[in-house]
Assembly symmetry: C2
Homo-oligomer: 181 residues x 2
DNA sequence: ACCTGAACACCGTTCAAGT
DNA sequence: ACCTGAACACCGTTCAAGT
């Protein structure tokens, strides 16, 4: 799935689709697939050939962002105590979610894909890394897992734009307090 | 808005629409408005006349359930210490949310409507009642409000059916721990 | 005052035909 | 092997005509 196309024109089409999707996804409302195809100058069928599901496209659109989040986990853990690292990481996720609303759909989709494909370096593993470190020092509840965190983080998506500044950091503090032992 | 119709046939149509919506909303997927109109034996325009927005209909469908939740708050508070009452109330919300998935959409819609209309006996007031009691005893964070709770509770909606039993109570415990001071 | 339902708009998805 | 775009399906929403 999502393998690299063999033909050069196909690879270019694929790249242009992702590029246009990235430009369009920032606009309010759901990303319109037909609009992406039109903007990329390809037929709708071509879009579906490369990305059978909406999630496939979103994962690709936010791949770099998600990878950055995954990479940040061990880095933060090297600099700070586990709970502070977790806090910093959650705040970073919130920043992404504010600027790029759709990134969370990609994160959720990635977690779902993980369950089947078990890809290396996933978001779920990043969260687990942070949680395990905190559990080892007995500063986090032993019974929480990555899915708990993903589910709770989903509440960030429901925050209205005008209340973001005051509400987002607040919710993260509450979530972190809940994870603490 | 949503005032009682003057004519008898209009009142009957309205009642039948709500009745059919209640029957259809339990099925998986979003409630289809045209399907509701057809099931109720009325034109689509009639449905829109009575319920200009989807939220208006959902609020009506779950009115009794939401009122029961609102009424439960002071009752639980009379029986238990504030934090236990809050815990019990959250668990009750979770029960509703499991059986009637859509009830949460109604709760969210109610909170939105509250902001404008300021209706008495709302969900937001019920939560505030519980939170204030807990704050008064210094067992809850002073900086949390009803919207925090509603946003966090939204994570329950994303729980898959097959993991509900183990996950829902767990998430509520984490949320409650986060609200604790 | 209220109802009907055809009609429009919109968007996702498929597939026969083409290169 | 890959692309195109007409066509279908589906659902929300409106509105002219009717009672």
């Amino acid at each position: 799935m999502a393998s690299v196309p063999r033909r050069a024109d196909a690879a270019q089409n694929r790249a242009r689709i992702v590029e246009c999707a990235r430009a369009l996804v920032v606009r309010p409302g759901e990303l319109k697939l037909n609009e992406v195809a039109k903007a990329a100058g390809v037929g709708q069928g071509t879009l579906y050939r490369h990305f059978p599901t909406r999630d496939d496209l979103l994962i690709e659109v936010y791949r770099a962002d998600v990878e950055a989040l995954v990479a940040a986990a061990p880095e933060l853990l090297a600099e700070q105590p586990p709970l502070e690292a977790l806090h910093s990481w959650l705040r970073r996720v919130a920043e992404y979610a504010r600027v790029k609303r759709g990134v969370f759909a990609a994160v959720t989709a990635s977690v779902r894909t993980d369950l089947a494909g078990h890809s290396v370096g996933s978001i779920a593993e990043a969260i687990t890394l942070l949680l395990d470190a905190a559990k080892a020092q007995r500063v986090a509840r032993p019974d929480v897992d990555a899915r708990d965190v993903v589910l709770l983080l989903g509440s960030l998506m429901k925050i209205d734009d005008d209340e973001w500044d005051t509400r987002a950091g607040h919710l993260i503090e509450i979530i972190l307090a809940g994870l603490r032992s």
